[in-house]
């Protein structure tokens, strides 16, 4: 996050400085963003929960790297999974059917806290639901990060090229984006899942290849407006190459939009993976995914509700955490978002300080403090590029 913005850096504006500006004097843009993010309680909580879930999912049942993922029985009849297996601290695995204890009901007790033999219960075959849910969570996390990474790379590069160079490469890339957009993601995802499914890694890669479109459009919009700014002209006059202008001058300014939208894409990826697996087109047996578990036992809601609640809970937790982190990041990156307090509260707080009793509230930042949530969603049709943006520059006027 090497963002050093010449325009937004706090400068000494003398008497015009507001209290907020004084508080951040001398900090780089990156430090500002970090500080705003760390102060966002909800986002920080979500970040901690997410890290805990990732740790729990990967350390508990261990994981399998490589291999075909198919099951094979050895001489004694115990099933092993193909691939390099790393054991975790949880003694059970997600593919073996264990003897059914207590009708398969969950053995977890909250007070006094104890996990018991099968904390999340067992399915009809006796498989440990805790191990299954942990494995499914692993898959969701893998898919989530892969989708984020792949669409970040593809979306940003295509959007940057398209917005920076314009002309025929722009039309070509945007038509290609349209092609991917009009195919509902569930269609391409299902076909991809059917062709390459079974393996979360491959599945995530392909889902990522399909998910970059919104990001590319947003990055293009940002590039289109940023490339007309004075600091880009200055860089070009100074002899900077196209690559340098893109990476050092424009990209750092677009990083907020990019990061925020990537997080939102990642939360959508969790849900898409679950939905595709639910339909049977995602991750396939013998591997497990959260959507697949729910799909398999959706008729058993009355008799074995735990087969339904636990996987669902983890999908929601993952998606919710990412959404909250994205929200916190958006607040942190958006400079208009100075304080998310109500005007009444702010006025009360200011009035409580004896030394500023004479100072009236600065109208600026709080009166428009609510930041529009529009950039949370992908392109609002023609909104990103209404005419006037470029025509408003003084140089264009006769």
């Amino acid at each position: 996050m090497a963002t050093s913005l010449p325009t937004d850096a706090p400068q000494d504006r003398g008497s015009e400085q507001t209290i907020e500006q004084k508080a951040v004097a001398g900090m780089s843009q990156g430090a500002l963003v970090r500080r705003r993010f760390f102060r966002h309680k909800l986002a920080m909580t979500a970040l901690i929960v997410l890290v805990l879930i990732i740790l729990l999912a990967f350390t508990s049942v261990g994981t399998v790297i490589g291999g075909t993922g198919s099951l094979q029985a050895d001489a004694s009849g115990t099933l092993t999974i193909n691939g390099w297996r790393i054991e975790g601290w949880w003694p059970l695995n997600w593919w073996t059917a264990y003897p059914v204890v207590n009708g398969g009901a969950p053995t977890i007790t909250w007070w006094p806290f104890s996990l018991g033999e099968h904390p999340f219960g067992q399915d009809t075959l006796g498989k440990d639901v805790f191990a299954q849910v942990m494995r499914g969570t692993q898959q969701s996390i893998t898919v989530m990060f892969l989708v984020g990474l792949v669409s970040l790379v593809v979306g940003v590069s295509l959007g940057a090229v398209s917005g920076y160079f314009r002309g025929w490469s722009d039309s070509l890339i945007m038509r290609f984006t349209d092609v991917i957009i009009i195919i509902p993601i569930i269609v391409l995802g299902s076909i991809m899942g059917k062709l390459f499914g079974g393996n979360a890694f491959v599945f995530g890669l392909f889902l990522g290849i399909l998910s970059w479109t919104g990001l590319a459009r947003l990055v293009r919009g940002d590039f289109l407006s940023l490339r007309e700014r004075e600091f880009v002209d200055a860089a070009r006059v100074a002899g900077a190459s196209n690559a340098r202008i893109i990476f050092r001058h424009i990209l750092p300014n677009a990083v907020g939009v990019i990061i925020v939208n990537t997080t939102l894409l990642m939360s959508a990826a969790v849900l898409t993976e679950a939905a595709l697996s639910f339909l049977g087109f995602g991750i396939q047996y013998p591997d497990v995914s959260l959507g697949q578990i729910i799909s398999e036992y959706r008729e058993a809601f009355r008799t074995r509700p735990w087969l339904f609640w636990w996987p669902g809970l983890f999908i929601i937790l993952l998606a919710l955490c990412i959404n909250f982190i994205g929200d916190g990041l958006r607040d942190a990156f958006d400079p208009r978002q100075q304080a998310k307090t109500s005007r009444r509260k702010a006025a009360r707080a200011v009035a409580a300080i004896p030394s500023v009793q004479a100072v009236t509230m600065v109208e600026g930042p709080t009166s428009e403090s609510d930041e529009p949530y529009s950039d949370e969603f992908t392109d609002l049709g023609g909104r990103s590029g209404p005419p006037g943006g470029r025509g408003d520059r003084p140089g264009d006027q006769p």
Binding site: L279, F301, P372, G382
Partner: protein
Amino acid sequence: MLTFLLRRLGAILLVLLVASFIVYTLTAIGSDPLRDLRASSAPNRDEQIAYRIEILNLDLPPVIRYFTWLGGAAQCLILQCDLGLSYTRGNQPVTEALASAAGSTIQLVTAATIIAILVGVTIGILTALRQYSGFDYSVTFLTFIVYSLPIFWVAVLLKEFGAIRFNEFLADPNVTWLAVLITGLISGVVFMSLLGGSWKTRLITFGSAFVAAGGLLWFLGVTGWFATPTVGIIGVIVTGVGAAVGVTAISTGLANRRALLASLITVAIWIALYFPLQYLFFYVPEGWMLVLLGIAAIGIGIVVGIIVGGDGKREAARTAAIVSFITFFVIVIDRVLLVYPDYVQRIPQSGVIATIGSRTPGLQGDMWFQILDGFSHLVLPTIALAVVSIAAYTRYTRSSLLEVMNQDYVRTARAKGLTERTVVVRHAMRNALIPIATIIAFDIGALIGGAVITETIFAWKGMGSLFVDGLEKGDVNLVMGFFVVTGVLAVIFNLIADLLYSALDPRIRVN
């Protein structure tokens, strides 16, 4: 404008061609349409395989097959579509399968969209007008949760609590004190944080909302309304007068006595027509009759508005037309509910709210029966589809309205001394709804393709089942049929969204 349209249509055609090529070849490569036959033990297996290879041209590579399919699809331009045969549906032409499937999906999507717009935009406006209130924070938090909910999970929950448990309640309607208390509390809290004001006002609001909502539920429970729900002429009068006051308050303000009078007169006309209409409903139970009456309802409103309106004919006509249509709608609901006891007798034991399919198979009855049956099947999938859209529209409307409320022209409107209603409805809302309109147009296109999961869970024989069946069994023509409809609709609605934006906002030009 025309060149813009032509250029856009050209681009759309190109995009559709490339996209259909991708979908076709990928599906063809990834599927094996002969799998079921290879596994079969029928004596004439080889002939069946040869026959299927022949009708589906399986001896040709997928790319060639795509172009033969495209040749058939191109005939759509001269209105003779040939999208191939679907072997999973007994070699039925795909166009036929599409026609029946698209009908039920469009029904579903229309219902979900209308509900999502009404509820989402309303909540969005309320949260924007009560920014940073408890209501605003709770709604924002709820939308976050909704965004994180997998739709299939919601659908399974809906099946359990919206259908099975609710049906159990309907079979033996017993309103518990707990339910009355909770309903009262929720409505009290919502209204309290919505109306705001000093603590005294808040307490009064809370108390009256608590008594009103809880009392209504208690009253309905005591009178056995849930066993035989009816509206009756009393209900029509109450809702009609309520609609007249409410719509006038929003549309013109209650100070406009003529508009209020016009809408009250239309309500009176409908109440006078209530008993004669019952004969009409009984003897002519036809769909076109309802459509005609609906148009007549709007007409009555306009005429009354013009007669009574005085100086503000247009406002009065508009208000009266809306009120008239609402009242007519309530009368239709009243008529449909009349067959409810009979309907409960005739349907399967599982209960009123259905969880499977779009119709009760083999149910005989007149139009009112069919409407009630369709409605009972539509409720749950519509809710499942609408929930996510409601959350999205709420957020859009909130941010859009907040942006507009900070504009200078809104401040000017306030400075002129206009009432808060005029400022919000006439100055702010009109501008705030421009982006919403385009988003909704955009969304409808996406929703038709996105209903796959909901349709699968509720066993709704629509486009979704077409797609899932086709993909599972390797029926490429069926998948392509799905794609043609959803893809074309998606690009068309995209175009509509763009045009709508430029039509509503004169600052934007299309070219």
